[in-house]
Amino acid sequence: MPDNKKNLLVHMVGINKSFYGNKVNTDVEFTLQEGEIHALLGENGAGKTTLMNMLTGVYFPDKGDIFFKGNKIIFDFPGKALRLGIGMVHQRFSLVGNLTVLENLILGHPDNKFVIKIPDKKKLIQSYMDQYSFQIDLDAIVDELPIGVRQKVEILKMLVREVDVLIVDEPTTVLTKQEADNLMKILKNIANSGKAIIFITHKMSEVFQVADRITVLRKGLKISTVDKTDTNPRELAKMMVGKENEITFERPQIEIEPGIVEVKDLFVNSDKGVFAVKDLSFSVAGGEILGIAGVSGNGQIELADALTGNRDVIKGKFLFKGLNVTHSSPEKRIDIGISYVPGDRINVGVAGNRSVWENIIMKVYRLPKFKKGLLLNNKKLKNYSEEIIKKYNIFLPGINLPALLLSGGNLQKLIIGREMERDCDLYICVYPTRGLDVGAAEFVRKAILQLRKKGKAIILISGDFEEILELSDRIAVMYEGKFTGIFNNGEHSLEEIGLMMSGCSREEAAKEMGNV
C-alpha cells in the first residue's frame, strides 16, 4: 500500500493493453510516491516497458486510467508527458547522433526562444551538471561518445526539463560495474532532491542497491508491490519467474586444440581514425573461452569487427587455423567458419524489417543445398528456419513477420541459433546477454558452454563481470586498445581485474591489492 504520509505522484489503475490479441498488461495497478526510487522488476516480455510507455503517452491503454498528481491525464499530444513532468530514458536512446551534447540537451526545450543564446544555455546546463555531479563534454558529438556517456546525456536531458518523474529503462545493461555504481549514486542524488524515479530492471542486485519499493510484473500481471525492507532476493526471484531456480554452470575440463586463432601485433582504427586496438597479440585454442573484460569503448567492438572483417586491419596479422585471413572479406570469413554474434543485435544482428525466416538464413542461403537451379529454394530455406525456431525454442508471432517484432531474448535466441547451427570453429560473441532476462541469459550462456564442449574456440566480449568469471577459461582485460592483463581464470581476484580495467598492469593490480 502507498505510504499516506508521502504525496502520491502517479497512480495507474486497471491498466489493460494488448497488441494484436496478445495481452501485454492485464489489470495492472501502479503507484509512485515523491522522492522514491521504485523498481519495476520482471523478465523480458513481462510488460514493464509497455506499462511505462503508457505512462509517457507512447501507447494508450485499452482500458484503465492514469492519474498524475491527482488529475486524470489524457495524452493528447506527443510531448504531453514531458510537459507534465514525466520523462523516460529508453533502452534505445533518442539522441540526435550528429549533434553535440549541448544541442541535444536544448533541442525542443520549452524555454527556447527564436534565437538561442548558446553561452547562456551552456551555463544553465553546467549548473545542472554541477548539481547532480555529471562530467560530460558538452561540445562532443553524440555519435562519438561511448554508450555509457550517451546514457548520462539522456538522463541529463530529462533533468534539464525539470521532470518530477524519471523513468529509466534497463539503464545498466550497457554499463560496466563502475559505471553502473556511479549511475546508482546519481539516481539516489536525484531521488533525494524530491524527484521520483521508476527503475525498470531485471537485475536483483541493483534493486537492493537503490530501490525503496519494488513492483514485480510477470506475464503482464502485477504480482506484488513490496517495500525493500520487507523482502529478500529469493522471494523476489520467485515472484519474477514464478518458480525458484538456481542457475549453475558447469565448465568441465576438456582437451583443447591450439592454433585456432593467432593474432599478432594487431592495429585497428576507430571511426575517428585513431588507433582503437593497439598492438594486440593473443591466441585462442579450440575448446577454450577467452573472456575479454573491460569498460565499454576500450576497443573491444573494433577488435571484434576487425576479426570478422567488418573493419580494416591497419597493421598486424590474424591467422585462423593457420590461414592468413587478415584482409579477407566478411563473406570469406563466414564461409571458412568464423561466426559473429554482434553486440548490436537489433541493428547489426538482424535486418529488423525483413521477415524472421529471411533473418535466419542470413549466413546459409549461399550453400549449394539451398539452390534450385539458378534460383533459391525458398521452401527449403523456410523449412530450415522452422527447424531452428523449434530447436532453439524461439517464441515468435509468425515466420513471415518482421524480426523486429521479436522480444530481445527471442531475437538473441534467433541469432545464437543461426550461428550455432552453422557449426563454425570460432565464435566471437559480443555482449551476448546484454539486456536479456534471467531465462534468456541462461540459455545463451549454456549455448556458449556447449560450443566450448564441442571444441570450438570462443572469444567472449562482455561487460558483465559475473559472466566473464563464470564462463571464461582465460581472461583478457582490455584498456585503451591494449590488454592490461591476460591470464587464466582464477589467477586474479575480482578487485584486481577491476583495477586492470582502469589501466593497472597485472603486477600493479596485485601489488595494490596486496597492500590493502
Binding site: Y20, T308, N310, R333, D344, N353, R354, M362, L374
Partner: protein, 352 residues
C-alpha cells in the same frame, strides 16, 4: 471539442496497407476535383471525360497502353533501386541517354536485319541508361554523395546532351530539332492494337524476370537485405558497395529501355519530347506499387489513364496543361501523407 492523437502502430497488415493507399488516391481525386472546379469545369464531367477518353474506345485503350509501356520500364527502374533503399530520381535522364545512344547506332551504324537491329538497339539503350546511372553510383560509393541530388541533376545534363545532337549534328533537313525517321528495321512491330508495340512484351517479360530475381534468387535476397539494413547486410557478408553499384546499373538499364521503347516504338525518331516526364512518373508508380513488379503494371496503367485523360481535358475542356502535373502531384502528396496512417493509429478524443 475533439482532438486528434497519434499512437504508434506495431505493424500494418497488407489489407490495411491497400485500403489506406486506395483511400489516399480517393482523397487525391477529390482535391483534383476541387482544382478543376476552380477552373470553371464540372469535376464530374471532367472525370467522365478522363475515363471516357482513356477507356471509352478501343483507340483510347490502346493509347493508354502505349503510354503505360515506358511507365512500366521507369517504374521497374525506380522500384529496383528503392528495394535496396536507393532513390533513383534520374530515370528521366537515363531514359534520354539510352535513347540517344540507340539513336546514334541508327544514324551511324549499319542497317541490320530487323531482329538483329532491334536487339542491338535494346542492348545499347540499356547500356546507355546504365552508363548514365553509373555516375551517381560511383559518386555515392566513392564520395558518399547523396544519390537523390546527383541523379536529379544529371537528368538535365542528359537532356542537354540529347539537345546538343538534336540541334547539332542530327538536325533534321528542315532545320527542326529532330533526327531523320528510323528505317523500318529499327522500329518495334505493332501488335495489331492501335499503336501498341512489341516493347510491351519486353516490359512484361522483365516484370516476371524481376519478380523472380527479387524474391527467388541469391542476388534478390542480398538486395532485400541491403535495402532493410546496411549494417546487417554487411554483417551477413554482403559486399554493399558492389551491391549498390549493380543495383544502379540495373536501374539505369531499365530506364534506358524506356528510352528505346519511345524512339523505336512510337516516335521513330529522337526529339526533345520523347518523354513527358515518364522518369518522374515512374517514381510515383514504384512508390504506389510498394516496389512489387506485378503491381507496377497495374499502377503504370492507372497513371497512363490519368496522363491520357489529362491530355484530352486540355484539348476538349480547355483546361491548362498543368492539370496532369497537378493530378500526379496531388496523388503523390496524398500517398506520402497516408504513410502517417500506416505508422500510427489516429484517434479522436473528446476534450473536456
Amino acid at each position: 471539442m475533439y482532438k486528434i492523437i497519434l499512437e504508434q502502430k506495431e505493424r500494418v497488415s497488407k489489407k490495411e496497407d491497400l485500403i489506406i493507399t486506395l483511400a489516399a488516391i480517393g482523397i487525391a481525386f477529390v482535391l483534383v476535383g476541387i482544382f478543376i472546379a476552380f477552373n470553371g469545369v464540372n469535376p464530374f464531367v471532367a472525370l467522365w471525360k478522363v475515363m471516357y477518353s482513356s477507356l471509352g474506345s478501343s483507340y483510347g485503350i490502346s493509347e493508354t497502353l502505349v503510354k503505360s509501356i515506358p511507365l512500366i520500364f521507369t517504374g521497374l527502374s525506380v522500384a529496383i533501386a528503392l528495394n535496396s533503399k536507393l532513390w533513383n530520381i534520374g530515370a528521366e535522364g537515363q531514359l534520354f541517354f539510352g535513347a540517344t545512344l540507340a539513336t546514334a547506332f541508327v544514324i551511324y551504324g549499319p542497317i541490320l536485319p530487323k531482329p538483329l537491329e532491334l536487339t542491338v538497339l535494346v542492348i545499347l539503350g540499356a547500356i546507355g541508361g546504365a552508363i548514365w546511372a553509373s555516375i551517381p553510383a560511383l559518386l555515392k560509393i566513392k564520395f558518399k554523395m547523396n544519390e537523390v541530388i546527383s541523379t536529379l541533376l544529371l537528368n538535365y545534363v542528359a537532356i542537354n546532351i540529347a539537345d546538343y545532337f538534336l540541334f547539332g549534328p542530327w538536325k533534321g533537313k528542315d532545320n527542326f530539332p529532330y533526327t531523320p525517321e528510323f528505317p523500318p528495321e529499327a522500329r518495334f512491330s505493332r501488335l495489331g492494337f492501335g499503336r501498341v508495340h512489341s516493347a510491351l512484351i519486353i516490359a512484361l517479360v522483365l516484370v516476371v524476370i524481376l519478380y523472380i530475381l527479387i524474391y527467388y534468387t541469391k542476388a534478390g535476397y542480398k538486395l532485400r537485405l541491403t535495402g532493410s539494413s546496411l549494417k546487417a547486410a554487411k554483417y551477413a557478408g554482403i559486399n554493399i558497395k558492389k551491391m549498390m553499384f549493380m543495383v544502379f546499373l540495373l536501374s539505369g538499364a531499365l530506364a534506358g529501355l524506356a528510352g528505346v521503347s519511345q524512339v523505336s516504338g512510337i516516335e521513330y525518331k529522337l526529339h526533345q519530347h520523347i518523354s513527358t516526364g515518364y522518369g518522374y512518373t515512374g517514381i510515383i508508380v514504384a512508390w504506389l506499387a510498394r516496389t512489387n513488379p506485378f503491381i507496377i503494371v497495374i499502377f503504370a496503367i492507372f497513371l497512363s489513364i490519368l496522363l491520357k485523360g489529362a491530355d484530352s481535358l486540355q484539348i476538349a475542356m480547355h483546361l491548362p496543361a498543368a492539370v496532369g502535373v497537378v493530378m500526379q502531384a496531388l496523388i503523390l502528396f496524398a500517398i506520402l501523407g497516408s504513410e502517417l496512417f500506416k505508422n500510427y493509429n489516429v484517434k479522436f478524443i473528446r476534450r473536456r
